[in-house]
Amino acid sequence: MLSVTHLRKTYGSGGQAVEAIRDLTLTVGKGEFVCIVGPSGAGKTTLLKCLCGLLAPSDGTVTLDGEPVTGPPKAMASVFQDYSRSLMPWFSVERNVGLPLRNKHRSAADRAKRIEGALAAVGLESFGSRYPWELSGGMQQRVAIARGLAYEPEILLLDEPFASVDAQTRADLEDLILRVREATGVTMLLVTHDIDEAVYLADRVVVMSARPSVVVETVAVDLPRPRDQVATKSLARFAELRAHVLRLIRNTADQPAPAAPAAVTGAAHED
């Protein structure tokens, strides 16, 4: 279980300090699919960097299965928005997927098996010897997902993973992620600014306010699974949830930041 308690992140100090995140508390249960949405400029990427141990929070704690996160945990993998920069162009698809496995698995045969399995899970089994830049954007992001899966994490963090691909590819990748999750049971935490995507994918949607960010509301998504791009999105309940989340985001985006929701546990952030 991933648990975030009163996370605060401020960049810089003194008069130039920028408060990216004011107070965030959330938990992601084992096997859960949680999406975080917020208006652009909410500290979404900052939050993910704090969660995966790349940034130290200014205050508050992040724990994974009870262990405080102080650096990148072995039980966590990430998929970045910018696949073309996150994949190493000098390595083949196979080597990219196998990149993080050297420290987990001593035997080359073990690693090869896992690379093969991960590529099969994203439908790229015959592309192992190609280079990422020989593939389309959607395929590159699938390689990045395969790399995350090959690492065999308990939780996969996805930072706007489908924001740089076209609409059709995006729908395909969303369904791919849902299938992978069915098959592996891996916990998913996905950050997006796309409300439809969040509602379509998630068990719970955490709505963040604009900077300085707080949690506005956590919306439970009671849509049936398996989800389907057409059937699920045609449900009246989908429209309701979508409208609800949209309203929350528009309200928070319109309001000046300090006036943001009273739901926040008060005292701590005066100084």
Binding site: K49, C52, G53, L54, G71, P72, K74, M76, A77, S78, F80, D82, R85, S86, M88, P89, W90, F91, L99, P100, R102, N103, Y131, W133, E134, L135, R147, Y151
Partner: protein, 265 residues
């Protein structure tokens, strides 16, 4: 400087032919001017230069000089590449090192190495060491700045990726930083190679250290002009061949890089 490869056979013939035509025209003008008597005696007809090169292509002395110069070049380039890459990389990666060295580097870099020649000749005599030292110093600068900017330019997303997946410092260096920096370093090597060759020949010439430079100096001092121009042509060819060799290596090593990717994807 390689002309872009175009599909049609006519254009590919032209791509090969046009640069050759320019060279041929220049040589023809040279020959014509000599024949008409417009050039002074110090500039012999190009046919004489060609004839000298032809006669001496098998000459042991000439090839010994080429070998000596290439020896100077190789040792100096190796030293310059190793030192420049190490110092440039350290300056880019470790702020304290940068603070400590940036002033010295900025002061020393614009000084032409030839100013050190007199003191070096006094200390070491007209020896290969002098040539190698000075050529190495000249090679350090392009390597240093290329590596510095290369390391500074490693993509932050690649860096984050490597950290998130728990790569060790050594793994990050070998699998992420080094390949990212390689395009910069290989450009640096090509620049440094040319500079090293230039400096080596110049120091041989001025310091009378055995090598193509000293050979050139001897022919010039004795008024053997067809031989002098023959040696000049030879040094030019040497530079072209070395550069072509490095470009070839670079194309193979960096076939993943955007500037070398083949369009068969």
């Amino acid at each position: 400087m390689t002309p872009p490869r175009l599909a049609s056979p006519l254009t590919s013939v032209l791509n090969f032919l046009l640069p050759v035509l320019t060279t041929a025209a220049l040589l023809a003008i040279w020959e014509g001017l000599s024949a008409s008597g417009a050039l002074p005696a110090e500039i012999p007809p190009v046919s004489d230069v060609g004839a000298w090169l032809g006669d001496n292509a098998g000459a042991g002395d000439l090839w010994t000089a080429v070998g000596q110069t290439l020896g100077h070049w190789a040792v100096a380039l190796l030293a310059g590449v190793v030192i420049g890459t190490a110092v440039g990389g350290a300056m880019a990666a470790i702020p304290v090192v940068n603070e400590l060295l940036v002033g010295v580097v900025e002061f020393l870099r614009p000084i032409p190495v030839v100013v050190y020649l007199p003191i070096m000749l006094l200390m070491l005599g007209a020896t290969s060491e002098v040539v190698v030292w000075l050529a190495a110093v000249a090679a350090v600068w392009p390597m240093l700045s290329q590596t510095f900017y290369g390391v500074r330019d490693v993509d932050p997303v690649s860096r984050d990726t490597a950290r998130v997946f728990g790569l060790t410092t050594a793994q990050r260096l070998v699998w992420v930083t080094a390949p990212s920096v390689l395009p910069y370093v290989s450009t640096g090597v090509r620049i440094a190679s040319t500079i090293t060759l230039l400096v080596a020949i110049a120091m041989e010439l001025i310091g009378a250290v055995p090598g193509l430079g000293a050979t050139l100096g001897t022919y010039a001092a004795n008024g053997v002009y067809d031989a002098m121009y023959g040696v000049i042509v030879l040094t030019g060819l040497l530079g072209v061949v070395l550069n072509a060799a490095f470009e070839r290596i670079e194309r193979r090593a960096l076939r993943w890089h955007a500037s070398h990717r083949t369009r068969n994807a």
